[in-house]
Each structure stands twice: as structure tokens, then as C-alpha cells.
């Protein structure tokens, strides 16, 4: 409670300091000022005292195309998944050519980690943490492959190929069928075996 109060004070203190470098015309400045005060007044109404006041006027506004080109974020519910589709049958070919040399035959692991496992392997003497045994969301597999794999040439697969190789890795784990198409609709519906396996950090907080 005390901490929140301190944070709120810090945030508002910050907002009340100098109005900014004068690159803007005064009309613009006044508009900004007005908006700033309005937003400042609104701050306590926002949860956790969120700051919202353009004070310095630096940075330029981002265009929608510019944002679209960079916004490759995919949420756990599938928000942000692109168009395209693929199934394990095609994915096996992608895997053969683009993944096998590092991740081994049929996701068995090689120089790099494997992809096949079950949550039962998370307990006992020798545990295995991988896509099949551990990952909570299938969307993460698509997202990570799209942004980072193949390791030496990320960004060289089409979205169809990424859906396909994702489907193949899920198929290797018995999570989807060989001809089940993965796309923006179906992938978020896949329930990974270890979905319920994560708990929030219970360590003592200050």
C-alpha cells in the first residue's frame, strides 16, 4: 500500500515538472498542456496510477503499415497469428530439409534439443523438458519458429511452412493427427499436455 502510494507520488511528481523543449508552436504546447493536466487528473482513476502525458513531444507517430510490418507478436490465445495453413504431412518435408540437421531425426534431438516428450517425464530421476513434455502453448512453437528458426537462417520460411512444421512437431507428440491442418483458427485450440503445469513464482516478495 505504502509502495503504491510512493509510486503514485513519483509518477505525478514527474508529470508536474517542466514543460518541455520548445520545438512545438505555443498553440500545440497549450493543447498538450491541457491534455496533460486532463490526463494527470485521470491518473488516479486508472489502475495502478498509469502515466499518460506527452510531455516532451519527442518521437514521431508510427504508421499502421510500419506497425504491421514489425508486430509479429502472437498471444497464447492466437492473437496475431497470420494467414496460412499446413499439416504434418507437408511439415515432415520442411523438417527434413530445414530442421533435422540440428534437432535430429523425427525430433529426437541431436546437436540441439529434441521435441518429443510427455509431462510424465517432468518427474523422476532424469527429467526431460521439451515441446512435448513441457511447453504450455502451441502458439509459442509457431511464434518461436517464425522469429528464430532455422537458427542459421531465421525468417526464410513461409507462414504455410511454419504452420506445417509446427503441425509436424505436434504430430510427433501425438497431439494432432497427420492431416490435421494448423492455421490461425485451429492452432490456438490445441491443448498442450502440460498446459496446467505452470504456477506463479511463490518466492517471498519484498
Amino acid at each position: 500500500m505504502r509502495k503504491l502510494e510512493a509510486r503514485r507520488r513519483r509518477a505525478t511528481g514527474e508529470l508536474s515538472v517542466n514543460c518541455c523543449p520548445g520545438r512545438k508552436d505555443s498553440g500545440e504546447q497549450n493543447r498538450r498542456m491541457g491534455r496533460r493536466i486532463a490526463l494527470w487528473a485521470a491518473v488516479p482513476a486508472l489502475a495502478a496510477g498509469i502515466v499518460s502525458a506527452q510531455q516532451y513531444g519527442l518521437g514521431r507517430s508510427a504508421g499502421t503499415d510500419e506497425i504491421a510490418a514489425w508486430d509479429i507478436t502472437i498471444g497464447p490465445q492466437g492473437k496475431g497469428l497470420p494467414h496460412g495453413a499446413g499439416a504434418a504431412r507437408e511439415g515432415a518435408q520442411v523438417y527434413e530439409v530445414r530442421c533435422k540437421e540440428c534437432h535430429g531425426e523425427a525430433g529426437a534431438g541431436g546437436d540441439q534439443v529434441g521435441f518429443v516428450g510427455k509431462p510424465e517425464q517432468l518427474v523422476g530421476e532424469k527429467t526431460v523438458r521439451n515441446v512435448g513434455s513441457f511447453w504450455p502453448y502451441a502458439t509459442t512453437l509457431f511464434d518461436y519458429t517464425r522469429r528464430a528458426m532455422p537458427f542459421d537462417r531465421p525468417g526464410t520460411l513461409t507462414d504455410d511452412q511454419i504452420y506445417a512444421v509446427t503441425a509436424y512437431i505436434l504430430y510427433l507428440n501425438g497431439i494432432v493427427g497427420e492431416d490435421e491442418t494448423m492455421d490461425a483458427e485451429t492452432l490456438p485450440q490445441v491443448k498442450m499436455p502440460n498446459r496446467g503445469g505452470f504456477i506463479r513464482d511463490p518466492r517471498r516478495k519484498p
Partner: protein
């Protein structure tokens, strides 16, 4: 480390007073033979960018991997002085290599649940009111090998995925205020411009607290391997979340469950459940000198020195034991003690020449005390791999050689 005998001798000679004050048993060494002074040679001329003495060889230790771009290098903490890590020795952990970025081309996009999506150039960021603060950054995989009772032989290998720099940048909350955070936003996604577009979910609470978008490190621009030209610094949070080569921040309702906060950087418990978003680094200390691989030399006075830090605030106390935990003495802390930064501690010690086991344990301002391995295991089991902050021991043998006490 001044290891050579002559500097030691000089020190002992000059330290006669100190020696008596501390009741030292001074080493009996004969005076150096009178040397004839040689004609002086001219030194090197001035130079544009300095380099250290060729006699100094401390270097990062590289972990060999199949893919050197996804690897790590460790800070030689055993050769460190004070609290700042030279930028060239700051540990590295990359997931897809170090990108070559032209700062004139680099931009930072802030979008998602904001009023005004904005793009900042590096120059824009540098125009804003700046702050400079020392903060440690520690990989949560640091001391991973210390989960096993044996542990690593040197402090570089056991604790070298930690370093401390003075970071210069702007508070992230200042940039967020420019964009205007919408009411529904609770988290943000930070993304780098490296080949794998490394990303992590960060709470808005942290962003509005002490997060920095940094462009400076130890008085100059960030090193490429530390995120040039812009990186996120999340004081006290695990290294991986301090996204380097920062290019995008997206305000979101919840976390994204990206690969490096699910597959990796989560802690598996014995029952198969895993802790997720274990972001703060617990308090930790380690003796850096003398430490494994070093030798003490002759018996007598020997300062014990080490580093302590906490992701939750300031270090308030460090205790050192020279008898394997039988008794503890309070170490001196180098002032000023800074929040979420390395704190140097020292203890005067008379080495009587016999075997000794050196331990350190710290306490931070929240009252948290650094645990033993047994205490950690009792809480978390043996499989969690990350966030190991156990008390670490070094054994001094009768011949002055120092090794891992757990071995």
C-alpha cells in the same frame, strides 16, 4: 591480482605499521638486492583509445557450443576490483549472435495498448532527461552448476554470469508516458533486433518502477554485445529479461508466454510443476579473493574480498566465515551501498597457514538471508536449474592454494 613477489614484498615493507596494528605475524624475507638503475627509456605516446597493460590478462571464459552465436561468456570475477565490471569483461549470453546495428538506422517502436504509437530514434531517446545508475545484471542460469553439491572450481565459472555496470538511459516510464498507456495494459512485450528477435514479457508495474532504456554503459556507449545502441535494463531482474538491441515495446493485457519464459527460465519443482515468471534475483554473495584457482602465498595478513547483490534492494550485511561456518564475522561494506548493484565487502584476515574454509552470506534490506544449498533444495528440490544463490565455499590448503570447498 598482484601476484608477483616483489609487489608483495613492497606491500609488506610499507605495511609495517599496519602489520603491528593488526597483530600480524610478518613474513621474514630478506631485503631485495641493491639494483643498479638503468637509463630511462621513453614510453609510449598518447593514443586515441586506451588498452590495458599487456601484463593484465583477465578475460571472459567462453562456453563451447555447437552454435557459438547461442552461447555465453563469463566475467572473471576473481580478478575484479570494486563494484564496476569493465564493459569488455561484462558477461555475455546471446541467443542468435551479436547484431551489427547502425545507430542512425535503429528505431524503437512503442505500440499496442497506447494512446499514440510512437517511433523513437536513438537521438530522440538521448535528448530526454537521462539517469545514470549502477545496476548488476545476472543471468538466472548463473551458478546453475552449484545446484549439484560439488559446484564449480573457480568463481568465474560458478558466478561469472553476473556483472555490474553504470547504465545511462531514460526511465522507460518516460517513454511510455509519451505514448500514453491505456487502462487495460498490464504487461508489455520487449523485443530485440537480433536475428532471433529475442523477446520477454515484462509487467507494467516494473516498467513504471525503475526500468531503463539504456544507451550508455560505464561512461561510453553500450558495447555491441551489451545491446548497442539501446537495451532494456530491469534492475534486479534476471538477465534474459533485460532485452538487448531493443527495438519494440508492445503494451498488452497479459504475458505472451514466449519461448524464453516457458521452455527456458522457468523452474521445475519435484512434483513436475514449474515456477513461471521468476523474475527477481534473490540476494547472493561470493568471495572473489581468495577464490578457487588462486594462491595466497605466505601466511600473514590477507584481505578477504567479495561481492554481494540483491534484486530486491540494498545489501545490508555480509558475514564471512573462515572456519567453514563455525563462526561468522561481519564484513565491511564499501560505501555507498547501492540498490540492486554489486556491493563490495572485505574482511581483515590473518592466515595462520593452516587449512581454512571461507564462506560468505548476505542479507538484503527486505530481511532475506542467503540460503545454504540444503535450504534451497528443501524449498525447491533439485531440478530447478536456475536462480541458485547458495552459500559458496572456498578451501585454502596449507600450501596456500585455494580450491572449491565442495569438491
Amino acid at each position: 591480482m598482484p601476484k608477483d613477489a616483489s609487489s608483495r614484498r613492497a606491500f609488506l615493507g610499507a605495511g609495517a605499521l599496519l602489520g603491528t596494528a593488526l597483530g600480524a605475524c610478518r613474513t621474514q624475507e630478506s631485503a631485495p638486492p641493491a639494483e643498479q638503475e638503468l637509463p630511462s627509456l621513453l614510453g609510449e605516446p598518447v593514443r586515441r583509445y586506451g588498452a590495458r597493460s599487456p601484463h593484465e590478462t583477465a578475460a571472459r571464459a567462453i562456453r563451447e557450443t555447437q552454435t557459438p552465436e547461442a552461447s555465453s561468456s563469463r566475467t572473471p570475477l576473481g580478478d575484479s576490483y570494486g563494484t564496476v565490471t569493465p564493459s569488455a569483461l561484462h558477461f555475455e549470453r546471446h541467443h542468435a549472435g551479436v547484431p551489427a546495428i547502425d545507430p542512425a538506422e535503429h528505431k524503437l517502436l512503442i505500440h499496442g495498448l497506447v494512446e499514440r504509437p510512437l517511433v523513437f530514434s536513438v537521438d530522440d531517446v538521448k535528448r530526454l532527461p537521462s539517469v545514470s545508475q549502477p545496476y548488476f545484471i545476472e543471468c538466472s542460469g548463473n551458478s546453475g552448476g552449484e545446484w549439484s553439491p560439488a559446484g564449480a572450481p573457480t568463481v568465474q565459472l560458478s558466478h561469472g554470469l553476473a556483472a555490474c555496470s553504470e547504465w545511462t538511459g531514460v526511465p522507460l516510464k518516460m517513454l511510455l508516458a509519451e505514448a500514453g498507456v491505456q487502462a487495460g495494459a498490464k504487461w508489455l512485450l520487449a523485443e530485440g533486433a537480433d536475428a532471433c528477435k529475442m523477446q520477454r514479457s515484462v509487467t507494467l508495474e516494473k516498467a513504471l518502477d525503475d526500468a531503463l532504456v539504456a544507451y550508455g554503459q560505464n561512461g561510453e556507449a553500450l558495447r555491441p554485445e551489451q545491446g548497442y545502441p539501446l537495451r532494456l535494463v530491469l534492475p534486479g531482474w534476471e538477465g534474459n529479461a533485460n532485452v538487448k538491441w531493443l527495438r519494440r515495446i508492445k503494451l498488452t493485457e497479459g504475458p505472451q508466454y514466449v519461448k524464453d519464459e516457458t521452455s527456458k527460465y522457468t523452474e521445475l519443482m519435484e512434483d513436475g510443476k514449474a515456477w513461471i515468471f521468476t523474475l527477481e534475483m534473490d540476494a547472493k554473495s561470493v568471495i572473489t579473493s581468495p577464490s578457487g584457482g588462486q594462491t595466497i602465498g605466505a601466511q600473514g595478513y590477507r584481505e578477504i574480498s567479495g561481492l554481494a547483490w540483491s534484486g530486491r534492494g540494498k545489501i545490508v550485511r555480509v558475514e564471512v566465515s573462515t572456519d567453514g561456518g563455525g563462526s561468522w564475522a561481519e564484513a565491511k561494506l564499501q560505501e555507498p551501498v547501492r540498490t540492486k548493484a554489486f556491493t563490495r565487502f572485505t574482511l581483515d584476515w590473518q592466515w595462520a597457514g593452516g587449512e581454512a574454509v571461507l564462506l560468505s552470506r548476505c542479507r538484503d534490506e527486505t530481511g532475506y538471508v542467503q540460503p545454504t544449498l540444503a535450504e534451497l533444495i528443501a524449498e525447491r528440490g533439485r531440478k530447478s536449474a536456475y536462480h541458485c544463490n547458495r552459500i559458496k565455499g572456498w578451501k585454502v590448503a596449507a600450501d596456500g592454494s585455494v580450491s572449491n570447498a565442495q569438491a
